[in-house]
């Protein structure tokens, strides 16, 4: 089933709408917004899509994806998808109970672990297996923030008892899926803000949306946002239908490539439309565009994913290309 309950969308939209006002998003930079995190945890929204048997809220990947897109749209300053899409999925696959508290996912050694400085639970993914550890079992090294002030750190794990679980590559892919979903939501928000600004801002005695060149920009943005959303949705549909590892890699690669590419186009046009005010820190557009510039680089930029996808397509040859295209989205069984 790919249909998401409208009530779920309404609930999460209202929660984010109340708790993600621009001032709160700005104030949370460098950390997370504890009020929002608690609201998501207490309502069970942070673990929608994860099995009840490991302490999740139940529901489907489509439900979790809808919440992730909403989080992206609202610039939710919390590590939601580290839990709902990435780390929680690792736990589910490995049969581990979900730990309490904000989660970060340590994928391989020496990589940046997003949200590590504010996490209390760590999912550790290595070539030898996976584990869940607490902050007592990790040492944070070099740290920093992405362009949007979301923190990261390099993590050394001092103690962990590993169990069999998803591979490093698979979890990296899951991270790329999470960023694709967040970007899909944020891209549509950047496009929506631009429409709004075109109607509000007046120059030469009329709303700037009256100028054809800006109408052309808005339409282009809507198009790129729709394509990005479609790429992310394809990934969700294909993964939900139970793709094998190669197919999962391909569809996530396509999603990360298309959404990441759209960031360059949409951010540029959104800022051009908003003029000078849009690149001040007092305008809320920047909360969206800074996240987009960050997310397109996290869990593999377009170059990495597109090269891997292209290598796979080239190895299969030209005759295999069309069957690959028509496999997505999977046909609906009626």
């Amino acid at each position: 089933m790919s249909t998401v309950d409208p009530l779920l969308i309404e609930t999460i939209e209202s929660m984010f709408g109340d708790l993600c006002e621009p001032e709160k998003v700005g104030a949370a930079e460098g950390g997370l917004d504890a009020v929002l995190w608690n609201a998501l945890t207490e309502s069970g929204m942070s673990t929608v899509g994860l099995a009840e048997s490991i302490g999740g809220s139940g529901g489907t990947l489509h439900d979790a994806a809808a919440i992730a897109k909403a989080a992206g749209r609202h610039c939710a300053p919390v590590p939601l998808t580290e839990l709902s899409i990435v780390g929680g999925w690792v736990c589910e696959q490995a049969g581990l109970q979900l730990p309490e508290g904000p989660m970060a996912v340590v994928i391989g050694e020496g990589a940046r672990t997003y949200w590590a400085p504010v996490a209390t639970a760590f999912v550790v993914v290595t070539d030898a297996g996976v584990a869940v550890v607490s902050s007592a079992d990790v040492i944070l090294g070099e740290s920093g923030r992405n362009y949007a002030g979301e923190p990261w750190a390099k993590v050394t794990v001092s103690a962990a008892s590993l169990v069999a679980g998803p591979s490093v590559a698979a979890v990296h892919g899951r991270g790329a899926l999470a960023r694709s979903l967040l970007m899909a939501g944020a891209l549509s928000h950047a496009a929506d803000l631009s429409v709004q600004y075109c109607n509000e801002r007046e120059q030469f005695g009329k709303p700037i949306g009256k100028f054809q060149v800006l109408q052309q920009y808005l339409s282009q943005m809507a198009g790129e946002a729709a394509a990005a959303q479609a790429a992310a949705d394809n990934a969700v549909d294909v993964l939900a239908a139970g793709a094998d590892q190669d197919e999962a890699m391909r569809v996530v690669a396509a999603a990360k490539t298309v959404t990441g590419r759209a960031v360059g186009i949409i951010n540029k046009l959104a800022h051009q439309i908003h003029g000078a005010i849009g690149y001040t820190d007092e305008h809320r557009l920047q909360y969206t565009t800074r996240r987009l510039w960050s997310w397109r680089d996290e869990h593999g930029a377009e170059a990495e994913w597109a090269a891997a996808l292209g290598a796979s397509l080239a190895a299969a040859g030209g005759r295999a290309l069309w069957p690959a295209i028509t496999k997505w989205p999977p046909a609906a069984v009626r």
């Binding site: 929506d192 054809q212 790429a231 170059a303 292209g310 290598a311 080239a314 030209g318 046909a331 009626r334």
Partner: protein, 382 residues
């Protein structure tokens, strides 16, 4: 939220898999027989009546039409699948293309019984071909400014005027013309007073002159109509309602897979031309095209599902056409960057066809700039 565009879920029904398997097997067999060589942009340029008749005989045309006229009353999604397979294989489908896509459905919707019985079965058999008679020398994007006229006479109408960019008029038997049946000055508003007629291109008074493209190819024509008589029963729909009838066709015309796949055969050839282990830069460029194509195909399917459900996703179709035709044009740009001339004759031919036909992709069926204006209005720009 400001964005009012809607792309609901986009999974084709599993029932379409059967016809996909059948049409793919047919195309593989035809390829093996050498009936056709894959080319780019074949829905405009690949005029091959014998291939169209073969498709008709196989039951691949008029799938959605009423059984009464030779159709199969299948879903529009079955047709979507057949059409995208034909396009992807680069099969020659221009002869029946316009007739099967829009003239047949228009006649079924707006024509009278006599006209339906006379023309629709031939379309389904792949024997009766149509062109589009909309644009005029002074009316391109501004279609409502057309000047061709229809004047009522005994038993029918007399039509005068000139139509341009009339694809394959020199090879097809009919076109559907949009003309003024009430002079603009007397019509109540510029969108009123227009009517649609089926016009036999072999009628006395019809002159067809080639308009050659920069490639040297002859697909387009200028059709001059001088006192051409059209019998009454060949009027479509209601006198004066031509504009609304034409607008209703646009979602069908703009959202089909032909708006993303015109250069697909080149993309497939490109994958072979770069070999099994290309550089990571070449891989990335190909994957980007592939990724965008799979995303846009999803949007295309979504529009097809909306149409099938009885909605009228005119704006969504415009948006998909804008994105899809840009992608069609980028495929040859990437291909030429990655593969030098002379590597393979087949690749060179597909590349040349694609480069030289690319200017048309973002013009035909409504320029992308006009389409973006439509999208912007729907986005709520006031």
């Amino acid at each position: 939220m400001a964005n009012r565009l809607v792309f609901p879920d986009a999974a084709l029904p599993a029932s379409t898999e059967a016809i996909r398997t059948r049409v793919r097997a047919f195309l593989e067999a035809e390829l093996a027989n050498g009936t056709f060589t894959p080319r780019a942009d074949t829905w405009l340029s690949g005029h091959d009546p014998s291939f169209s008749r073969k498709l008709g005989a196989e039951g691949f045309l008029g799938l959605t039409y009423p059984k009464q006229y030779g159709g199969q009353e299948r879903s529009a999604l079955d047709r979507f699948v057949v059409v995208e397979e034909l396009l992807a294989y680069g099969a020659p489908i221009a002869a029946h293309w316009i007739a099967e896509r829009q003239s047949g459905p228009t006649i079924i919707k707006h024509g009278n019984d006599a006209l339906r019985e006379e023309l629709v079965p031939g379309i389904v058999r792949g024997e009766t071909y149509f062109s589009i008679g909309m644009s005029e020398p002074d009316s391109g994007s501004d279609l409502a400014s057309i000047r061709s006229t229809a004047r009522r006479v005994d038993g029918g109408w007399v039509i005068n005027g000139t139509k341009v960019w009339t694809s394959q008029a020199h090879n097809n038997q009919y076109f559907i013309v949009l003309v003024r049946s009430t002079p603009a000055a007397e019509a109540n508003g510029r969108h009123n007073g227009m009517s649609q007629f089926v016009l036999d291109l072999r009628s006395p008074g019809v002159q067809i002159r080639p308009i050659r493209l920069l490639s040297g190819h002859h697909h387009f024509n200028e059709v001059v109509m001088t006192d051409v008589f059209v019998p009454e029963y060949m009027m479509l729909g209601v006198e004066g309602n031509g504009w609304a009838q034409v607008i209703g066709e646009l979602a069908y015309e703009r959202s089909g897979p032909e708006r993303i796949l015109s250069t697909y055969p080149l993309l497939a050839a490109l994958v072979d031309a770069v070999g099994p282990t290309p550089s990571s830069e070449a891989s990335a460029e190909i994957a980007t095209l592939f990724g965008r194509m799979t995303a846009l195909r999803r949007l295309c399917i979504s529009v097809a599902l909306s149409l099938d459900a009885g909605r009228s996703p005119v704006t969504e179709a415009a948006l998909v056409k804008d994105l899809g035709t840009q992608l069609e044009g980028e495929i040859p740009e990437v291909a030429r960057r990655l593969v030098p001339p002379g590597v393979s004759e087949r690749f060179d031919q597909l590349l040349g066809d694609s480069i030289l036909s690319a200017p048309g992709f973002t013009l035909r069926g409504g320029t992308n700039e006009i389409l973006r204006g439509i999208v912007a209005r729907e986005l709520g720009v006031r």
